[in-house]
Amino acid sequence: MGLRDRAAIAGVGYTPFSKDSGVSTLTLAIDAILAALDDAGLAVDDVDALATHRVGDSTPPWVVAPALGVPEVSWYLDQFGGGSVSHAVIGQAAMAVATGVARTVVCYRAINARSEFRMGGTGRGAAPVFDAQYQAPYGYFAPPQQFAMATRAHMIKYGTTHEQLGHIAVGQRANAVKNPRALKRDPITLDDYLASRWIAEPLRLLDCCLETDGACAVVVTSAERARDLATPPVLISGAVWGGGDSFFSGQGGDFTVSEAARIAPRLYAMAGVGPEDIDVAELYDCFTYSVLVQLEDYGFCAKGEGGPYAASGATSLDGPLPVNTHGGFLSEGYVHGINHIAEAVAQLRGTAGDRQVSGAEVALSTAQPGYVLAGTSALILRTDA
């Protein structure tokens, strides 16, 4: 049906992650793209399409392409948006190659999210978008504040606890200890978590992802062509985006259900699998709560049970559903979604080193679950059987 297994990820590439890259987002983009092409065994001359997303914080494809010396661009995507569209970029690239519009798409995200453009606007004015006029004057505009509001609503409705959120932060750090790329590699305990300072109650510092400078890129091409390249292809089995509500618009009042609940049935149907088939899940973790709500909304546990499920150890590397095996945005670094996809690829290739989930064949990778801007996006990836 549809896009299933018609396109593949043939290469991934990273720049180092840091708090001050010292270079432009253009340079970051180029470095990540060149690394991804090298991984795929391709060259710049093979590229005919570029895709990214940004919120006024990065370099667009029509600047990157000539800077790289791409001979001719047959398709590009300059998607507006933040984390919620991170996986839609890959999905649209899959559509482009499946329809023959493009042959080799480099998808990238390049940000200096610590040294230049900080989400939530420390030092800058709030972005004048949508319904911010009813919120910003009251000191409510930064993502940690918005996700804190949703977290509190979940606590009120389901009795979710700080300790349950803490298990997510502690568990992901344990994974990052095994990831040489991770910015945070010192183990933390639940006591460390509970002692970390408030950012916006009920969220603490250790509930928040790492503002990061860095870039990551992914090469998307047809499944057929990918089989002739340097590394075994990872097939894009499911790619969906959408939803329809923007929780923080001021309409919609129930913050305890994310847009992931709306797109999950379409995602699983496209890939022909269910939650029980997922071997590893890289769930968008701008904050601990976004992991918790997606455990519910992608069907890994009952609604309201995300806290107990996370605290049970089920999501650890040796549990039934390893989650955020690289440490996630909380501990590896935050490149706005695409580093989740790259980690899923590593797990399916069996190249994730000390953090490898043995026998991983099907992976879920997800975007910000729809609290900021409408909708979300997600991919199901699998090995080429």
């Binding site: 939530g120 606007g121 420390t122 004015g125 709030a126 004048p128 319904d131 911010a132 006029q133 009813y134 919120q135 910003a136 004057p137 009251y138 000191g139 409510y140 505009f141 930064a142 940690p144 504040q145 804190a148 509001m149 949703a150 509190r152 609503a153 009120i156 300072r197 408030w198 950012i199 916006a200 109650e201 009920p202 969220l203 618009s249 001021g250 309409q251 919609g252 009042g253 913050f255």
Partner: protein, 137 residues
């Protein structure tokens, strides 16, 4: 630090009448001319019946705390002297699906509870701007 240094609302073509009413210390929402649904934030069309006709109606200005946060981190200098402060997501008493945000005034952020009754307070910031805040009722 004064309220005047907070970010100003970016008023749009749909919300001008709402902010003008707040200036007069009136809390209004739209009422759809087609299906009668009360609507906030202001929109030119009803999302339920798509009717374009609507009127402005006064509401009680009371509600209950649906969710809330207590901000400690200073994300913007205007709030440096206000932390910790509470921001409330208020479910209005006038309709099931009507919500407004606002900061808590005349109350202790540490004592906010789920379902706490609150009422709107109009705070005149300067000659051009009035904000709607919330206090325990």
């Amino acid at each position: 630090m004064s309220l005047a240094e907070r970010p100003r609302p970016q008023v749009d073509r749909d919300s001008v009448p709402w902010w003008e009413a707040v200036r007069r210390h009136e809390l209004l929402v739209q009422k759809c001319g087609g299906c009668g649904t009360l609507r906030f934030p202001p929109r030119a069309i009803c999302g339920r019946c798509r009717a374009r006709e609507s009127g402005w109606v006064p509401i009680e200005g009371t509600g209950r705390v649906a969710s809330w946060i207590v901000c400690h981190q200073v994300f913007m200098r205007a709030f440096a002297d206000e932390v910790p402060y509470a921001v409330l997501h208020v479910r209005l008493d006038d309709a099931e699906d009507l919500f407004m945000y606002g900061d808590l005034t005349e109350g202790d952020p540490a004592e906010v509870t789920a379902g706490m009754p609150v009422e709107a307070v109009f705070t005149d910031v300067d000659e051009d701007l009035t904000l709607v805040r919330w206090r325990p009722r």
